[in-house]
Amino acid sequence: MYRIIETQELAPTITRLTVEAPLVAKKRKAGNFVIVRATPTGERIPLTIVDSDPEKGTIVLIVQAIGKTTHIISELRAGYHFEDVVGPLGEPTPVSEFGTVVCIGGGVGTAVIYPIARALKAAGNRVISIVGARNRELIILEDEMAAVSDKLIVTTDDGSYGKKGFVTDALQEIIDVQGKPDAVYAIGPFPMMRAVADVTREPDIRTWVSLNPIMMDGTGMCGACRVSVGGELKFACVDGPEFDAHQVNFDELIARNQTYAGPEQKALETWKNRVETTDCRQL
């Protein structure tokens, strides 16, 4: 039983869940993820482990309601449980003392960058963080990020909070004003990570991205998560999820991630309609 201890709405559609998973909590390192299944008929989806408490045997997950599965997870409350939680998966983040590191989180990607920023800070780096979202409402973990960063820059696309613009604008400014950082970690939607890679390619700054392709087993047994990195075939679940941003074939990845767009939309609609009808009956 993977009991849910606590849930908290961080932003509209973004939920933080504290889940009982003692073995995972004990082993987990920054950069690891779990595969979860919410219900007995559910699909297996990967979620980054944002935080863990080995003593209490709990892990923290953050989920944004996009498809049916993430909608179901967002509606789980304390006392409910996940059908399955397995992990920790993936190679942990390569954390060492680089000097100055820029950590970039876009949208719910901030949940993934947070444990990495914290680990980098703990390893003695000077951490400059950039957190971006479409608007003010969707900025998450601002305080947490501030606490593990020497400097935090917030950007919103519409200028409703922080700097108006994209995370890449803020990154470019850092490079122009302060000079090249020693490393960059960027996690967010694929187009954002691709844009970051484009900014740091020319000045040749070491850049890592964390990929979230389609996954199923998470142990290297299906190949759904395969990506081309430097022309080589890699399985993101076992070889990653973090890779050298300049080597990743983002175009291929973006296309592959659309594979199930149709069926997923259908599943979400069917599910939403079902919720409405139950609500009617309850009235």
């Binding site: 073995l23 995972v24 082993k27 299944r37 219900t39 008929t41 559910g42 699909e43 297996r44 049916k68 599965t69 059908e83 399955d84 939680v85 397995v86 992990g87 920790p88 998966l89 199923m216 087993d217 142990t219 290297g220 047994m221 299906c222 190949g223 759904a224 395969r226 990506v227 081309s228 075939l233 076992v238 074939n249 175009d251 291929e252 973006i254 296309a255 592959r256 659309q258 594979t259 199930y260 149709g262 069926p263 997923e264 259908k266 599943a267 069917t270 599910w271």
Partner: protein, 511 residues
């Protein structure tokens, strides 16, 4: 079939045993033709996932049993990798002692409902059956399946006796047929066994690979329940090498020995251009989505699968056959299989090739893919192929395919399934220091199933590469004997040691 087996039992009621010796002479017995089970009509079955073969009913099973000559030196038994006492179980079946017959099989093989369905009997027991030298061999597999199913139908399973506790525990990694067998064997010997499984359900390839229409998942669940009935514990969602390590199992967790049966599940790709386009699946992904995650019941089940109008499957083994027949059932207009050699060289079971042909799969032999082309959105649009011809035989005696110059041609398609083989799962090898592996990534074992590290044993696909269910079962049986010997030795040393300790203590306290 009636609910009460006894009523419709032509072998007579309880206690009245048939003796074949009086009944029929060998010559007469040999005149009876081999029985065939009913099968779902091909046109019907390509619209569902129900089992193709309906198996024997009592009448057929009993009549088939009549055909056995009860050879003095049964060659069928020798050809079976776990040496099931075939004539003995057939004799018991003939006498109407169904419980005795299934118990007889289970003495050698704890998974009869599974092996009766998926073993390549045509290459093993049935291939060597004496009757088969002149006529059709006995349908040994179908009788095995009947006995298992009939027992389940009557609910008459009783677990075999379990020896008193040895006070030692064994960890089994992976719940495929190998792991399940080790667990069943050791539990009966009195060991405390825990299976650790990475996925959320037990069964390995039996669950995620072999399709429902060949091996219903309920059958696998029932076999797993019969293993739990021996006191075996199964921990799903535990990846050894990630959640826990082998060294933790042997160290702080106190297991006396570990068996690794993690299989060969990592899909291989062709390394041709376009393989990462949307619409290209590995057979493992396709089969796992459909079998384990029930994508064929989408949206009742949440896991999606997108099948196009024209599916091309690449490969010629059992996995390719399962992938192509699974694809067919998901409703494309056309389903093709491309294989680079000819029909004779196909490694797949003949029965399955035959089933696939009946189901309207189009086979293209001597055809090898060279590139996959995509449309503007990154979806598969076509596959470029090359014609092959057969050259000299390779080391395994199969004729090597050689490309025919200038023979390239293109097949329009929107879904491609790569089914060219699987490699061993690497996680344990990467996280267990001192565990020797081969250049193919399999774990090195000696004939007893022992690895390079004391207390760690392995077998099945993780040490053989891709093999068969019954080979994994055979490895499991061998390894459980070795584990028993290893733990017995530890016990006697432990006794000696604690004996020495008490002597030492006596000495020290005596002073």
């Amino acid at each position: 079939m009636s609910d009460n087996g006894q009523d419709s039992n032509p072998a007579g009621s309880k206690g009245q045993k048939r003796s074949r010796v009086i009944a029929l002479k060998p010559r007469e017995r040999m005149k009876i033709p081999r029985h065939l089970p009913d099968e779902q009509d091909p046109k019907e079955r390509i619209t569902n996932f129900c089992e193709v073969s309906e198996g024997f009913n009592i009448e057929k099973a009993l009549e088939e049993a009549t055909r056995c000559l009860e050879c003095n030196d049964p060659v069928c038994m020798k050809a079976c990798p776990v040496n099931v006492d075939i004539p003995a179980f057939i004799q018991l079946l003939y006498q109407g002692d169904y419980d005795g017959a299934i118990r007889k099989i289970r003495e050698s093989n704890y998974l009869p409902a599974i092996c009766g369905r998926v073993c390549p009997q045509e290459n093993l027991c049935e291939n060597s059956c004496i009757v088969g030298k002149k006529l059709e061999p006995l349908a040994i597999g179908k009788m095995e399946r009947f006995l298992a199913d009939y027992e389940a139908q009557r609910g008459s399973f009783t677990p075999p006796p379990v020896a008193s506790s040895k006070g030692q525990s064994v960890a089994v990694v992976g719940s495929g047929p190998g792991g399940l067998t080790v667990a069943a064997e050791l539990a009966q010997m009195g060991y405390d066994v825990t299976i650790f499984e990475a996925l959320h359900e037990a069964g390995g390839v039996l669950k995620y690979g072999i399709p429902e229409f060949r091996l219903p998942k309920q059958i696998v669940d029932e076999e797993v329940e019969r293993i739990k009935a021996l006191g075996v514990k199964i921990e799903t969602n535990v990846i050894i090498g990630r959640t826990l390590t082998i060294d933790e199992l042997l160290g702080e967790m106190g297991f006396g020995a570990v068996y690794i049966g993690t299989g060969a599940g990592s899909p291989r790709f062709l390394n041709i251009p376009g393989e990462n386009l949307s619409g290209v699946y590995s057979a493992s992904e396709l089969l796992t989505r459909v079998n384990l995650m029930k994508a064929y019941k989408f949206p009742e089940f949440d896991t999606p699968l997108k099948m196009g109008k024209k599916v091309v499957v690449l490969g010629g083994g059992d996995v390719a056959m399962d992938a192509v027949r699974t694809s067919k059932r998901l409703g494309p207009e056309q389903t093709l299989l491309l294989y680079r050699r000819s029909r004779e060289e196909m490694p797949a079971r003949l029965e399955e090739v035959h089933h696939a042909e009946e189901e309207g799969i189009e086979f293209h032999f001597l055809t090898s893919p060279v590139a996959i082309h995509g449309d503007a959105n990154g979806w598969v649009k076509s596959i470029e192929c090359q014609k092959m011809e057969l050259g000299e035989p390779d080391e395994q005696g199969r004729r090597r395919p050689i490309p025919v110059e200038g023979s390239n041609f293109t097949i329009e398609t929107d879904t491609v399934v790569v089914a060219i083989g699987q490699s061993p799962n690497p996680i344990i090898q990467q996280t267990t220091p001192g565990l020797e592996t081969t250049k193919w990534g399999t774990i090195t074992v000696d004939e007893s199933g022992a690895t390079s590290r004391p207390g760690i044993f392995a077998g099945g696909d993780i040490s053989r590469g891709g093999a068969t269910v019954i080979q994994a079962v055979a490895d499991g049986k061998q390894a459980s004997r070795s584990i028993d010997a290893y733990l017995t030795k530890l016990r006697s040393e432990g006794v000696e040691e604690s004996g020495r300790e008490t002597a030492d203590q006596r000495e020290s306290t005596g002073k």
